[in-house]
């Protein structure tokens, strides 16, 4: 497979940032998503009058709904971690969708992006547990009865590390498979507009993957906040 044609990489060549554009396009497109989110945020908070309309309305729906959903999963104590959850959801959702636009690349189709996000989640829920319980956090690893602790501690440690791997690989595998499928279908039957019905499946999958990542983060934070067995 030869290199795809990427708009932002060509733009980066104008600024003599060839290596950034061609060797690390996922970093460039990550920055593009950051710029998109900041611009959307600025546009949405410019509210005129009491009645919300337009972009403000849409964001109120999205953020309000996500916050209510988060409180049902983590409880009231989890409300302080809502900015992380919302950022993850919006970043992953727009990142997944960006790959469907011709001439653009999903940054989440690269294992580096997803692994970095999974590591952030890992550090967050460990820090939440330590902050909430102090040294008593070790009780989360010990299992239901005290004499099972030598067996349970390695199992729980491996389970915690496996969460990082599963989060990163699930998102990476889904989005990379989606991109590859789109390339293959376009190669085979592109002139008959064959990928068009597949785009609905890809958009649904992009939303579901973002939602799953966010929901699993919420559940891990909720698991760290609650009392041990």
């Amino acid at each position: 497979m030869e290199h795809p044609y990427l708009f932002l990489s060509k733009l980066a060549e104008l600024f003599h940032a060839d290596r950034l554009g061609h060797e690390w396009p996922h970093v460039l497109y990550s920055w593009a998503i950051i710029v998109i989110l900041v611009v959307l945020g600025r546009l949405a908070t410019r509210q005129v009058g009491m009645i919300p309309r337009g972009l403000y309305n849409l964001f109120e729906l999205v953020i309000g709904g996500l916050e209510e959903f988060m409180v049902t999963v983590t409880g009231e104590k989890g409300r302080t971690y809502f900015p992380l959850i919302c950022t993850l959801f919006l970043y992953i959702f727009i990142g997944n969708l960006l790959g469907l636009v011709p001439g653009m690349l999903s940054p989440t189709a690269n294992l580096n992006t997803t692994l970095s996000m999974a590591l952030i989640v890992f550090v967050t829920f460990q820090a939440v547990g330590i902050k909430e319980h102090g040294f008593g956090y070790i009780k989360h690893f010990m299992g239901p009865v005290w004499w099972l602790a030598p067996l349970m501690i390695p199992i729980e440690l491996i389970a915690h590390l496996a969460r990082v791997m599963s989060l990163s690989f699930r998102l990476f595998g889904n989005i990379m498979a989606e991109d590859m499928l789109m390339i293959v279908v376009m190669m085979l039957a592109g002139k008959f507009f064959a990928p068009f019905p597949l785009f609905f499946l890809f958009m649904f999958n992009a939303f579901v993957q973002a939602f799953i990542f966010t929901m699993l983060t919420m559940m891990y934070i909720a698991g760290s906040l609650e009392e041990a067995h």
Binding site: F169, G173, N174, M176, I212, M215
Partner: protein, 126 residues
């Protein structure tokens, strides 16, 4: 079941044997070995993702069956059941995705496309 295993083994031996026959005129042992490795990788990738898809299909079918039965019993809870079903399906599917990633690594990352192109070019020229 035993017939499936025997057929699979015979296919493997046939493919490897054909590769040897096609390149025997080359008499370059390294290139023959390299192409045999790639043939094995291709077979492994195909079987791996096939078997992962079987397990994934059965498990997701059982998950959807449970969700549909629950909704049929209690149509008012359809919203919550649907949300849980989607989450469950995505978690089951992630196991198949792990197998897909391994298959893609086998095909594209090892043994590497440039080496394979070199070997195929030499085999064609010879």
């Amino acid at each position: 079941m035993k017939r499936v295993v025997v057929t699979a083994l015979l296919t493997v031996i046939l493919v490897l044997g054909l590769a040897t026959l096609a390149l025997a005129a080359e008499s370059d042992a390294v290139k023959i070995q390299g192409l045999k490795v790639f043939a094995a990788c291709a077979i492994a990738a195909g079987f791996g993702i096939g078997m992962a898809a079987v397990g994934c299909g059965l498990s997701q079918g059982m998950a959807v069956k449970g969700a549909l039965e629950g909704t049929a019993r209690n149509p008012d809870a359809a919203g919550k059941i649907q949300v849980m079903m989607i989450i469950g399906l995505a978690l089951i599917e992630s196991l198949c995705i792990y197998a897909l990633v391994i298959a893609i690594i086998l095909l594209f990352v090892f043994p590497g496309n440039e080496t394979l192109q070199n070997m195929l070019a030499v085999a064609k020229a010879g």
